[in-house]
């Protein structure tokens, strides 16, 4: 409990320091509000436009969460598929790496063309962005089971499938947790990219719109909401990951 209170306190200090630094830069450079609005201005804009921002944030957050779930499911099943079959390793791994080599940014317009301006194309960019980190971290974890355990399973007469689900999968949980952490910080990225390319709703769309009308304070307000959500998502996933690691690997990891 004390540790949590302490970490909140440290977070609060960091927040005050960050806001102070921001305000200091505004004063020191004398930048006009349409170039760099101060924190007070941004937060009053945030309050003033709270309904508009909340409406758009809800869209973006929904896309991120659905994309996270689908991308994780897809990554997990790919990793399992690769771990189970040498043939799929041979055929699919190069394909997956190649797919990862294509920047999602470049792909986003095509996805919008295929799936339209709605949520589906943004969910897909999120899925594409987190798929690889989840699949690759989990796959590495699945293949890193110490040989001793596999020998033991073999001598015990374990079936290959049960060896995967009862030994390899639990062993891979800490690696899976690292994949999830990476996914949590990059998923919002995917949604915003999708919205920038073409959307009628969402925080990314709102930022683009505000920027185009020189409403820098609104853009910053939307940006802060997105960043705050990303931090909250990361915090949650990090906790989940720490729990998974403790549960499956013990306190020493």
């Amino acid at each position: 409990m004390n540790a949590i209170a302490g970490s909140f306190l440290r977070g609060a200090f960091a927040l005050v320091f960050g806001l102070g630094l921001w305000q200091f830069v505004v004063w020191a450079t004398g930048a006009p509000p349409f170039i760099l609005p101060g924190p007070a201005r941004v937060f009053s804009k945030l309050w003033e436009m709270r309904e508009l921002i909340a409406e758009n944030a809800l869209v973006t957050i929904t896309q991120i969460i659905i994309g996270m779930i689908l991308g994780t499911a897809l990554g997990v099943s790919t990793a399992l598929q690769l771990a189970m079959s040498p043939l799929s390793r041979l055929l699919m791994r190069p394909l997956i790496v190649f797919a990862q080599a294509i920047p999602v940014f470049a792909l986003a317009p095509v996805l919008t063309l295929w799936l339209g301006y709605g949520m589906a194309s943004k969910i897909l960019t999120v899925v594409l962005i987190i798929y690889f980190p989840v699949a690759s971290a989990f796959y590495d974890g699945l293949m890193a089971t110490p040989q001793g355990y596999l020998d033991l399973a073999r001598v015990m007469g374990a079936s290959p499938l049960r060896t995967i689900f009862r030994l390899r999968v639990p062993h891979a949980m800490p690696a899976f947790a690292s994949g999830l952490r990476l996914a949590a910080v990059s998923a919002p990225f995917g949604a915003v990219i999708g919205e920038w390319v073409g959307a009628s709703r969402g925080l990314g769309h709102l930022m683009l719109l505000a920027n185009g009308r020189a409403q820098t304070d609104l853009m910053f307000a939307a940006l802060i909401v997105l960043a705050a959500f990303t931090v909250a998502l990361y915090f949650f996933i990090d906790r989940l990951g720490a729990w998974l690691t403790r549960r499956f690997a013990g306190p020493v990891g």
């Binding site: 110490p146 001793g148 355990y149 020998d151 033991l152 399973a153 073999r154 001598v155 015990m156 007469g157 374990a158 079936s159 049960r162 060896t163 009862r166 030994l167 639990p170 949980m173 549960r247 499956f248 690997a249 013990g250 306190p251 020493v252």
Partner: protein
């Protein structure tokens, strides 16, 4: 338990063209403890892994056969220096791991009895990281017994324990694995002197039999004849290297 078979291994092994051990013959009599002593790298563990049907990284040219002519597969249990307990399972979960891995329904009554037998009844719900090294190896022993295989292969299972825990678990294992065909690979002359019906020194030239007291195992740690055998084994081990 079904009747333990005798096992004969005959052959030679090399790694990438380099000779690991030349042609040798190792016979494990049925229901007896055989110890294999020798310096690191002479192929003791390779022999043990060959009998367990595991990959060794060596090319083995020869044959391994059970005295009753039936295959060894499914009749072997294996215990190593690393206790290989799954950190996400409690003691009970680890003891019934074999059944789970085979998709069988575990016999919980038997598992609980074995956990009590190795002195872990009060720790059955604990996870491995909360146990001492000695307790972990006891849990591992309970799991080995749960498998109820007539042949048990022990690859330096007690070498990482402190002297006292080691002496305790040697006695426990000696008692609980009596009447099985056991191969114990060890660095420790004292362990071989206490636990074996027969013991061999292994080096690049092959196997040579080591002297043992006439009494039957498990022998007391401080018995004069055990200590004498241990001293003689130690001397032969050092001069062989």
């Amino acid at each position: 338990m079904v009747r333990p078979p005798s096992i004969v291994l005959e052959g030679e092994a090399s790694i990438a063209g380099a000779r690991l051990f030349s042609k040798l013959r190792l016979e494990l009599p049925a229901g007896r403890w055989t110890s294999l002593l020798g310096a690191s790298g002479v192929g003791k563990s390779t022999l043990l892994r060959l009998m367990a049907g595991l990959d060794t990284g060596a090319d083995f040219d020869g044959a391994i056969a059970a005295g009753d002519g039936a295959p060894l597969t499914g009749r072997v249990a294996f215990m190593s220096q690393n206790d290989l307990l799954a950190p996400w399972l409690d003691v009970t979960g680890n003891v019934i791991l074999g059944a789970r891995l085979r998709g069988e329904k575990p016999d919980m009554q038997r598992a609980n009895a074995l956990i009590a037998r190795v002195g872990l009844a009060a720790h059955a719900r604990q996870f491995p990281h909360t146990l001492s090294g000695g307790q972990r190896q006891r849990a591992s022993l309970a799991r080995t017994l749960m498998e109820d295989r007539p042949v048990v292969l022990l690859d330096e299972p007690f070498s990482s324990l402190d002297a006292q825990s080691r002496a305790d678990i040697q006695e426990l294992a000696g008692e609980l694995l009596a009447d099985r065909t056991v191969l114990l690979v060890t660095h420790e002359p004292g362990e071989a002197a206490r636990l074996s019906h027969q013991a061999f020194l292994m080096n690049a030239h092959g196997l040579s039999e080591l002297p043992l007291p006439p009494s039957s195992p498990v022998r007391a740690v401080d018995a004069q004849d055990t200590l004498a055998a241990q001293a003689e084994m130690f001397r032969r081990l050092r001069s062989a290297a």
